[in-house]
Symmetry: C2
Subunit: 205 residues, 2 copies
């Protein structure tokens, strides 16, 4: 026998690059030639690591979850300076940083390929894991209807992503949206004081 396989390591090296291309161009519009170029290898090399373009995409979906999960884990493990609840801490982190990695684009791309059972399964798993995380921390704040409210928080993330992508929510808008609606969802705390206004890019009635 000779040369033990380093496929796993190679895959781990390349998957962030591949994820970036899929996020930038979507699934269909990404060509295997572009993936290879971004990895600085030939297409053939990629096909030795994954059996198909689809498999590369599914690996990208998994990678997206792992990146976000690591951030949240760290966030909860290290309380930082603030004294908020775990749910509150996730909320205020997301208020400032949601979507900045552009990974939600992988989700959009995946959703329009959800006819494919393998892609559907990968996405489903990803959402379920996010939900599990959120539900746990929402429950610790306010157990009543935590399951539903955790899903609603994911919905909040989805609109924020869509708003960012389509440009109808500015950074400040997204911040206010996540804090205002998020607070109401995790605690039932009504927004204190003045109304929080989230703009539609200047368009006001």
């Amino acid at each position: 026998m000779a040369r033990p396989s380093q496929k796993k390591e190679r895959r781990a090296e390349l998957i962030p690059l591949i994820t970036a291309v899929f996020a930038a161009r979507g699934y269909r519009r990404t060509t295997t030639a572009q993936l290879a170029a971004a990895c600085k290898v030939q297409e053939n090399t990629l096909y030795r690591l994954w059996p198909s373009k689809k498999a590369m995409f599914i690996a990208a979906i998994e990678h997206v979850f792992e990146v976000s999960a690591r951030i949240w884990r760290d966030l909860i493990a290290h309380p930082g300076g603030h004294d908020e609840s775990p749910a509150g801490r996730i909320l205020s982190y997301e208020a400032d940083h949601h979507g900045e990695l552009g990974n939600y684009r992988i989700v959009f791309a995946g959703l329009s390929e959800a006819d494919d059972p393998a892609i559907k399964h990968a996405l489903r798993r990803m959402f379920s894991r996010f939900h599990e995380y959120l539900e746990m921390h929402v429950t610790s704040t306010d157990p009543s209807g935590a399951n539903a409210h955790a899903w609603a928080l994911i919905g909040l993330g989805l609109v924020a992503s869509v708003g960012r992508e389509l440009g109808f929510l500015s950074a400040a808008d997204r911040r206010d949206l996540i804090l205002s609606a998020g607070t109401r969802l995790i605690g039932g705390l009504a927004t204190p004081g003045g109304a929080v206004v989230v703009g539609t890019n200047g368009k006001r009635k």
Copy 2:
């Protein structure tokens, strides 16, 4: 001169069929041949009515809004038997019927094509119009932060769609989700009585 143009009428006839195909197959995976077959015409005929496949897709996006808007308009115009507020009426309608037309698939397909300025613009316009509608009715119930909460309701619709598409929310789950989180969003009314449980397809901790 002879034979006044009937292009507008023809377009109006065909667009529901075209929308259905795009919803079923996504943008990229839909072929112009499929569109023509669904309309029972030749491809060439479609190209006389729209300059490109992209134009057909944008027309489909607009059609999606018009269909949903008509439903909501009717819903608010005819109070039916119930005495709820307009916002509450939209909520309970959506709790039972959200996504049943499959039109959210057009949104998913569009989002992964949002690099294209024309598609982006069409989607943006669509979301803004939905938001306008919701904000108006949410405001009438609870003015504080209505703008943000209207966006949050759209987020609720998005998770419900994703949950339906990926199969992690059953019809009952979606119903409970929309009622539970939606009520909290439009009124700040805490869920009365027992906790509303939204399942993850049987998986419970």
